[in-house]
């Protein structure tokens, strides 16, 4: 999957499309989804035009750091996983999962709960549990928005929100 140059305003020509997490190949057919530049973040959508002058951050640069993909794929990267209300945290190695469905299933098994269905506009619906993650820039993001590779290389920790705090992230506020 190609990523655009961070500083180029080439909105129509993106190859990145949003859709159900983990189904990259099918998503490619649905061309007209809102275009995403590689450094788009859900809460910063409105500032897209200003981002042209921002220097690239570590999070989103393709091929950086210059480490062989073999080495990247074989490096262990444990992230802490917390669930609201659970007495202790867990740790998982993101490298053991290849896509979002695998990760979400593992989380469901680990904490014995069910995650609702993801959709791009409204996040996770149906269960009151929302998987979120902290990225390299320290921002809390919704799991599933960005392509898997980008997520797994920028996720620092996971938090499964539930209850009232979770519902605040539903459709209305975004």
């Amino acid at each position: 999957m190609a990523y655009e140059k961070v500083n180029e305003l080439n909105l129509k020509e993106t190859e990145l499309c949003l859709g159900l997490p983990g189904r990259k190949e099918e998503v490619k057919e649905e061309q007209d989804v809102s275009c995403v530049r590689s450094n788009n973040k859900r809460q910063f959508e409105e500032t897209r035009d200003e981002e042209e002058s921002k220097p690239p951050t570590k999070t989103q640069i393709v091929g950086w750091p210059p480490v062989r993909s073999y080495r990247k794929n074989n490096s262990v990267s444990y992230v802490k996983v917390s669930m609201d209300g659970a007495p202790y945290l867990r740790k998982i190695d993101l490298k053991t999962y290849k896509n979002y469905p695998e990760l979400l299933k593992a989380l469901e098994n680990m904490f014995k709960f069910t995650i609702g269905e993801y959709c791009e506009r409204e996040g996770y619906k149906g269960s009151g549990f929302v998987p979120t993650y902290e990225d390299k820039d320290g921002d809390w993001m919704l799991v599933g928005d960005v392509p898997w590779d980008m997520f797994s290389s920028s996720c620092k920790r996971l938090r499964i929100m539930k209850g009232s705090e979770a519902s605040a992230l539903d459709s209305s506020s975004l």
């Binding site: 220097p55 570590k58 640069i61 750091p65 993909s69 080495r71 490096s75």
Partner: protein, 575 residues
């Protein structure tokens, strides 16, 4: 020399093995050219598209060993699409047709299929050695063909390849009559391994010197393998997942003590750190240690291990070793020649990493150091200046500051002076990678002082075309130049078209070169292949009215004697 018969001259040439020297010899006169071509045993082709197999065979009909490199270096970092090219199949087909007595094939960054491996295994009766580095496109079925059909196989060395593991029985495809193995490296295979077949293979290979296991080999099997092969020189222990109280661990300790020839150690993918002490008795013999995949090893266990390794010449480690750990290396490993410090945490802002202090300590403590690859979070000019003073013998200096454009963290200045000091002091420098905040000034220094520089990697650096021009004008020995995300454009690209004939290749991605600039270059230099790689567009650029001024996302150009390649995928456009 002209008074000697050809056979005598040929015999003299036998002592000349470096391909550079042989190339030079062949230029002396026609008769030497002829003698040299028929006697060349090993051929090195740094870019598989610079020449084709037919011409290779015409010039060197008698070679036995071939080294081929395919994709450009930045393919290692996912900057080149998988289908770009670099297929070995046509080479193997041509060599088979030409009845070459091929004994050794070494491939780097090429696409290798099971079909290719099968053809290889059936076409060359004396085939002895297969080395694949960073290749892809094949499965364990291909390995099974090699195992089954290469009767005299000595070396099967798979380094960091993407191999589809069908969990088959490829190891059991080595016939019982195969007893010639010297090197067996399958560390990059992900799947389960047939342990019985492996143990029997090792037991019947008395010449086995290098054995690198994958992560699926458990500790008790490792112990048994080492007992079968006490002559081992180079060992990759695989996962080394173990329990210090188990009987296997005791057996392992006993086996290790017998491996008095062991010089090189790697693996430890899942290692429990306190079990490293099993290796302490033989550490003083080690000249090479690769712990760069051993994420679980750090802190005091790592330090203790290193303190036993007084004769290390090569160390590959993760940055979790910290500056303190590097100080231990500096005070222990006085024979150190090559150091690589890889980033452990590719995600976070970095817990423990290394800084300029670690680098300075190493430079002060290790007088024989000539090659370094160092990933770190911060650097200063002052540190680099000290390093240059301590180690004027660097041949390879690759520094990667993880955050692009990061300045000297003490002075907030660009790192021009620091790198300038390195190129000024290190007169034998052949390879350089720069990083951090850099202006055109650093390239002025590089052009001025780096007279022996052959390979330069640039990312997020420079201000204007002057930077790139300094390098192109100054570095007479430049062979490979790779640039990404830097503001160099057509003016620099087109200034001296003939320069590219002296170079193997130039890569520029996310720079300022335009399509019309590349087209002008291609026109002026028909002996170059100028490739535009544009995954997004599929030649949309051609139809667009503004095509001339459009910036090119990725350009890769290389000299070639055989023109445009025939296997171009749709997203590559050769001008």
């Amino acid at each position: 020399m002209n008074y000697f018969p050809d056979e005598v001259i040929e015999h003299v040439f036998d002592f000349v093995t470096s391909h550079k020297d042989r190339n030079t010899i062949s230029l002396v006169c026609k008769s030497w050219y002829k003698i040299e071509r028929f006697s060349r045993q090993q051929v090195f082709i740094g870019n598989c598209y610079a020449i084709n197999p037919e011409r290779l065979l015409r010039r060197f009909p008698c070679f036995k060993s071939l080294t081929l490199k395919g994709k450009p270096h930045f393919a290692d970092f996912n900057l080149v699409p998988h289908e770009w090219g670099g297929f070995v199949q046509p080479w193997i087909e041509a060599l088979a047709r030409g009845r070459v007595g091929l004994e050794e094939l070494r491939l780097k960054r090429m696409v290798v299929t099971d079909e290719s491996l099968e053809l290889l295994s059936r076409s060359f009766a004396s085939f002895k050695s297969l080395v694949l580095v960073s290749c892809e496109g094949f499965t364990t079925d291909g390995l099974a063909s090699i195992a089954a059909n290469c009767r005299h196989l000595q070396e099967l060395d798979l380094q960091e390849n993407e191999i589809d593991d069908h969990r088959g029985q490829w190891l059991s495809c080595f016939p019982d009559t195969c007893t010639t193995l010297v090197t067996l490296n399958f560390a990059c295979l992900e799947g389960e391994t047939n342990l019985v077949a492996l143990e029997r293979l090792v037991a019947r290979s008395p010449n086995l010197k290098s054995l690198k296991l994958n992560r699926a080999v458990p500790l008790d099997a490792l112990a048994r393998l080492m007992l079968c092969a006490p002559q081992i020189v180079d060992l990759g222990v695989g996962s080394y997942e173990n329990d210090p109280d188990s009987e296997s661990y005791l057996k392992l300790k006993a086996a290790i003590k017998k491996c008095t020839s062991l010089r090189s150690l790697s693996g430890f993918l899942e290692a429990a750190p306190h079990c490293l002490s099993a290796f302490h008795p033989i550490c003083h013999n080690l000249t090479s240690l690769n712990l760069s995949y051993a994420a679980e090893i750090h802190g005091s266990h790592l330090i203790k291990l290193i303190q036993h390794c007084k004769n290390l010449q090569r160390l590959w480690i993760l940055d979790s070793i910290g500056d303190n750990g590097l100080e231990v290396v500096a005070s222990t490993c006085k024979e150190l020649q090559e150091l690589r410090v890889f980033p452990c945490d590719l995600v976070g802002v970095g817990d423990t990493t290394v800084t300029e202090e670690g680098l300075v300590a190493i430079s002060a403590g290790c007088p024989k150091l000539h090659s370094i690859l160092y990933f770190c979070n911060q650097m200063t000019n002052a540190a680099l200046i000290i390093v240059a003073k301590n180690c004027p013998n660097f041949i390879r200096f690759r520094l990667c500051i993880l955050e692009p454009n990061k300045p000297d963290h003490e002075t907030s200045q660009p790192l021009d002076e620091g790198f300038g000091a390195i190129v000024k002091a290190c007169k034998s420098l052949r390879r350089l990678s720069v990083s951090g905040l850099l202006t055109d000034q650093v390239f002025y220094y590089i052009g001025m002082y780096a007279n022996q520089l052959e390979m330069l990697s640039i990312a997020f650096a420079g201000d204007t075309d002057k930077g790139m021009l300094s390098v192109l004008n100054g570095c007479k020995k430049m062979r490979k130049l790779e640039i990404r995300d830097s503001p160099f454009g057509d003016k620099a690209l087109l200034a001296d078209v003939n320069k590219y004939e002296t170079m193997r290749s130039l890569w520029m991605s996310s720079c300022e070169v335009t399509l019309s600039g590349c087209k002008r270059l291609a026109q002026k230099a028909p002996w170059l292949n100028v490739e535009i790689i544009n995954e997004n567009d599929n030649n949309r650029m051609e139809q667009n009215g503004h095509e001339g001024r459009q910036k090119v996302d990725k350009m890769y150009l290389y000299r070639t004697v055989v023109g445009t390649r025939m296997d171009v995928p749709p997203f590559v456009w050769i001008l």
